[in-house]
Amino acid sequence: MRLALLADDAAVWSSRLLAVAVVLFLVVPIAICVVLSFDARDYLGGFPPTAWSLRWYRAFFDNPSYLDGLVVSLKLAVLATLIAVIAGTAAALFLARSRFPGRAALETVFLMPKFIPTVVIGFSLLGFTAAVGIRDAFTRLLIGHAVIVLPFTIRAALASLVGIRPSLVEAAVSLGASERRALLDIVVPLARTGIAAGAVMAFVLSFDEVAVSLFLSDPFTQTLPVVLIAEMRANLNLTIAAVSASFLVLTGTVLLLLDRTLGLDRVIGQGIYRT
């Protein structure tokens, strides 16, 4: 009996140890990258750095290809998010309030882009846009990004619409509002936290996207991750560490926004047994 208890304790502690190891596996490389971004040496040397400077951040902001990439990425993320939020919220309004035989199938279709390999989306869109005469890289990037982030805006809006009682719309309509007014003035404001959370996710997913952008970029219109990949394949200089560390600012902002809108706890739900 004592032995069994001892074995139990050993199992509990080893699983805790494993959890700590996993956290370290996930965090340590990123921490090392951040530390190296402040390295004063000219080359990628041993760890830890012997002297410190901000030169790689200056190099980042002095490099026009990074800055151009940043501008393209920001424009793309804003526009793709806008399109996906409007189209996605409208579609979610429809899905949340209708009961017809094909409804579940339609929802599956809308969530489909999530499961299609992004390389396949990128390549097929490249061929298709060329075939129909769309040569502008930004336009095809925008179509690709809007498609990829659409499932996330639909999902988020749908989740927040489910709890809104249809009687609210009925009341507004019976008082003389048009159905459109009722949706825009009552339902959408009530669902705003879900819609906002969906917008945050859409923005970041677009900003971080790589595979689709790699296919659809051209030498004059490249997103920041595409520029980063080109640099990484050429050499491993520490400007990339500075750019990578800067991405963490975005991560932090997103965590803060998600925590303020949905609450981090609610992003994946509390579970049914937690009180």
Partner: protein, 284 residues
């Protein structure tokens, strides 16, 4: 239509239009392209053929598919095994600060640029990195081509672990803690509670976490591109090479269609199968 239903389909029109223009038409185009013969110099293709598909059955190409699936299996299994303890703690801890910290870390990683994460892995485990000695555990040097495969494995694991752990947290927090308490109070040792009660109840969630990470691994493109040093190529990379380096669009399209079918079979087919075999909670 029921009482509360919207009067028009106008609400779905924008999203449907986006899907048709940005996804359905391109995929139909891809399928057509994959059935055209390859003409060097990109002349307008004429005629129909299945050689683009038949060619992929040759051992030299089948190897890429095999290699991709092998990486996917190993990494997904590792992600599940390593993600379980962390997910369990997040799901069951009474300390809400700990739970929020774990959730914050996992969600934060999900939203951290993958290229940045892969660069971090390269400078950590690469030749000049503080963990370059890690290669020696496998009897390799950090600069050797053989280590590229390990690096790709590390990169993929870093990519899918947060997703696996978050999926598992969702599963674990829906297991009724009363069942464990009942079994323990009746004298069952912890390992019997874990194997006899928790494992069967969590099986659908474990399977769905495995399938999600597996699909993410085999359709990944960036990890082998940046960490594979040209030694490790996934099916996606083969496709990219066919298109960008030898401009063989029909062959690239055929690879794309096969990948699409493969991933759909995994996501929809296998999870439907799992649902049927395992009674109880839905797997998705």
């Amino acid at each position: 239509m029921t009482a509360g239903a919207p009067r028009s389909w106008g609400l779905v029109a924008p999203a449907l239009l986006l899907l048709v223009v940005g996804l359905v038409c391109p995929l139909v185009y891809l399928a057509r392209e994959s059935l055209h013969p390859f003409v060097d110099g990109r002349a307008l293709p004429t005629g129909w053929t299945v050689t683009n598909y038949a060619e992929l059955l040759r051992p030299a190409y089948a190897f890429y598919f095999f290699d991709t699936l092998r990486f996917g299996l190993v990494v997904s299994a590792l992600a599940l095994a390593l993600g379980t303890p962390l997910a369990w703690i997040a799901a069951r801890t009474a300390r809400s600060a700990l739970r929020r910290a774990i959730l914050g870390l996992l969600i934060g990683l999900l939203f951290t640029n993958l290229v940045a994460r892969l660069y971090a892995i390269l400078v950590t485990y690469g030749t000049t990195g503080p963990f370059s000695g890690f290669a020696r555990l496998f009897g390799l040097s950090a600069a050797s081509p053989g280590f590229a495969a390990i690096l790709v494995g590390i990169g993929l694991l870093h990519f899918v672990l947060p997703v696996a752990a978050l999926t598992l947290i969702g599963t674990f927090q829906n297991l009724n803690p009363r069942l464990e308490e009942a079994a323990s109070s009746l004298g069952a040792p912890r390992w019997r509670v874990a194997l006899g009660i928790l494992l069967p109840l969590a099986a659908p969630g474990l399977i769905s976490a495995f399938l999600i990470t597996f699909a993410m691994c085999i359709s990944n493109f960036v990890v082998p591109l940046l960490l594979g040093r040209g030694v490790v190529l996934f099916t996606t990379n083969l496709m990219y090479v066919r298109i960008t380096e030898i401009a063989n669009y029909p062959s690239g399209a055929a690879i794309g269609i096969i990948m699409l079918v493969l991933v759909f079979a995994i996501v929809y087919g296998l999870s439907a199968l799992a649902r049927r075999l395992l009674p109880g909670e839905a797997t998705s």
